[in-house]
């Protein structure tokens, strides 16, 4: 552990602050200042007076429906990511080092392509006369093309594709840290593999799982491009409401209120999730254990 500043020679703290000053300034200027401005603007009405009318606007059914839709999609995406990522991470964690590295590369590959390119690729694949429908029809599995895109289905598929690595990575790290010998230990105590999984393995993976799910869920709340392109105009998520508010009202206040609402919602969600798993400390093997 690095020594606390109190027990270091004087001037070290000043030096460290000076060295971090550019980064701190960038964060303050580029992140906190605009957020503060957005916060202030959200309390101003069209004439520049202080008012909460922008927040009252958010209570209209139009916006509440949008909130519901955003949560529905985020839950669906988190659920599907969980179903797909858990078995995949389990498999990846048990691979020997070389194949594991190669598999990891494949998991990370989507990160190296722009989100826009990936989203448009899904549009082309899932279209009425796109590759997926053409293949299914050729195989005789369907008669008429399925409506896979320009709706919530397509949006969820696109979002799962983008967010899956965010769940795989923490989960994989967590699973990797669990020694394989625990399975043996469980079986010597008389547990079937299924029981060992439920009672031992799964609870140990919960910290990584929850961290990953939180990441996926909160990122889904703020998605904009994917619903805009794959939603066919039918799906408006909260970020799309920010865009709508920018164009629909003569002042920025409404759009800022929408943005602040999203920020506060996300922060409270993260806080709730962190508090609820506080007792699950990240698992680490202690000296003497295998």
């Amino acid at each position: 552990m690095p020594m606390a500043y109190a027990s270091r020679p004087s001037g070290v703290l000043a030096r460290d602050i000076l060295l971090s000053a550019p980064a701190i300034t960038a964060i303050l200027a580029g992140l906190f200042a605009p957020l503060a401005l957005m916060f202030v603007l959200s309390f101003l009405d069209n004439a520049g007076r202080l008012s909460i009318e922008n927040y009252q606007l958010l209570l209209e059914p139009f916006y509440l429906t949008g909130l519901m839709t955003t949560f529905k999609v985020a839950f669906a995406v988190a659920f599907i990511c969980a179903l797909l990522a858990y078995p995949l991470s389990f498999f990846l964690a048990r691979l020997p080092p070389r194949p594991a590295a190669a598999a990891f590369l494949l998991v990370l590959l989507p990160f190296w392509t722009s989100v826009l390119v990936r989203t448009y690729a899904w549009l082309i694949l899932l279209q009425r006369h796109g590759l997926v429908n053409a293949m299914l029809q050729k195989l005789g599995l369907i008669e008429a093309p399925l409506r896979l895109v320009n709706n919530m289905t397509g949006t969820i598929i696109g979002m799962v594709h983008v967010l899956l690595p965010y769940l795989i990575l923490p989960l994989y790290a967590n699973m990797r840290a669990i020694p394989a010998t625990y399975w043996h230990a469980a079986s010597t105590c008389g547990a079937t593999p299924a029981r060992a999984f439920v009672a031992i393995y799964f609870p140990l993976t919960l910290p990584g799982f929850v961290v990953g799910l939180t990441l996926v869920f909160t990122l889904s709340l703020g998605f904009f491009i994917t619903p805009a392109i794959l939603g066919g105009g039918k799906l408006m998520m909260w970020a799309n409401y920010v865009q709508f508010a920018l164009t629909a009202y003569p002042h920025w206040g409404a759009a800022c209120a929408v943005g602040v609402a999203l920020l506060l919602l996300t922060l409270s969600l993260v806080a709730v999730l962190r508090l609820s798993v506080r007792h699950l400390r990240p698992w680490r093997a202690r000296p003497g254990e295998f």
């Binding site: 429906t65 839709t69 279209q127």
Partner: protein
């Protein structure tokens, strides 16, 4: 001695040259082939005549981007092109420079084609188009578009209400002359009735052309220029002028533009008959607003194309720009709520 002479000559040049350099006008439009054609037909020639330089920009959504530009105090755009009702809306929001009508001559323009802050160089249309490989007979009017039993297939409507509400009311049997003021409730109910068959609510002109070309939808309410782009690309497209809507395209100058005088001169040049005569050549389904353009005389080929627009104009119903300028803000959330339900 010689060095100081050289420096004084260089200094003189440094001061003199900028005065003779030409001004750059930034033109902002909706992008795609439509912008390319408008620039080719009107803006580029007009800027050349005015000895300026052209710089182009595009926007995703004009009013929000215009607000951003104007609020910064130094808008990056000098000329912005939008739909007539968007210019009227922007004008009400105080985002546009009042035009100097000593510079911008409106002779030859019909009465609705200009206002204090904007002028219209050409018309554009919203019409019914379909895939002729799916519907060889083709729908005849908007009632057929709404007839999901006889014409089974995927449809596309715009994600914005202006133009779409009119089509719904026409399909519901309202007389064109009795359209305005629009019965918004009735129109929303009518659109809601076929919501399940609307596969795509298109947001950009390019998207509308793409979904028609790809066969993603079988019938669409689409802008004329985008329909002709799909047709030119070889897609099996049928269309009709029956019950089409006609609206003004508009040019305006954002408030606070640094080159507003030159911008207004460019707009004025774009309205002259000589430049307006380019429109039938390059944008056949759209027409020039300056009637004097037709007096110039066209070649037989261009006359054919000009006739296409005249045919359409005869059957088209004008969109009421003032109605939308007043009610757009209030109708858009209701329209989007209807789509999302």
């Amino acid at each position: 001695m010689r060095l100081s002479r050289l420096t004084s000559v260089v200094a003189w040049l440094a001061f003199a040259l900028p005065a003779t350099a030409s001004e750059t006008i930034t033109y902002a439009g909706a992008g795609g082939t439509f912008q390319a054609k408008i620039v080719e037909a009107m803006i580029a020639p007009a800027i050349r005549i005015q000895h300026g330089e052209l710089n182009q920009a595009t926007y995703g959504e004009p009013i929000a981007s215009l607000k951003l530009e104007v609020q910064s105090g130094r808008p990056a755009w000098d000329i912005v092109q939008m739909g007539g009702e968007q210019c009227a809306s922007a004008s009400r929001l105080g985002l546009l420079e009042p035009l100097d009508f000593k510079l911008v001559h409106i002779a030859g323009l019909p009465k609705g084609a200009y206002d204090r802050d904007w002028v219209s160089p050409n018309y554009y249309s919203v019409l019914l188009a379909w895939r002729s490989d799916i519907f060889p007979q083709g729908p005849k009017n908007w009632s057929d578009f709404w007839d999901v039993k006889r014409f089974k297939g995927a449809r596309a409507l715009a994600a914005f209400p202006q133009g779409m509400l009119e089509l719904a009311l026409l399909a519901d049997g309202v007389e064109p002359s009795k359209l305005y003021p629009l019965d918004v409730e009735r129109a929303l109910r009518k659109i809601s009735a076929i919501k399940d068959d609307v596969a795509v609510w298109w947001t950009t002109g390019a998207q509308s052309a793409q979904v028609l070309k790809d066969g993603e939808v079988d019938m669409i309410a689409i802008w004329g220029s985008r329909m002709s782009a799909a047709l030119e690309s070889g897609a099996p497209v049928g269309f009709t002028f029956k019950d089409s809507l006609i609206n003004y395209n508009c040019f305006a100058v954002p408030k606070g533009s640094a080159h507003k005088e030159l911008a207004m001169r460019v707009i004025a040049t774009a309205l002259t008959p000589e430049i307006q005569a380019n429109i039938p050549k390059l944008l056949p389904y759209y027409g020039p607003t300056n009637k004097d353009a037709y007096k110039l005389g066209f070649s037989a080929e261009v006359l054919e194309k000009a006739k296409l627009f005249r045919d359409m104009q005869a059957q088209a119903i004008p969109l009421n720009v003032q109605f939308w300028a007043e009610h757009l803000e209030e109708i858009v959330p209701r329209y989007k709520a209807m789509i999302g339900e």
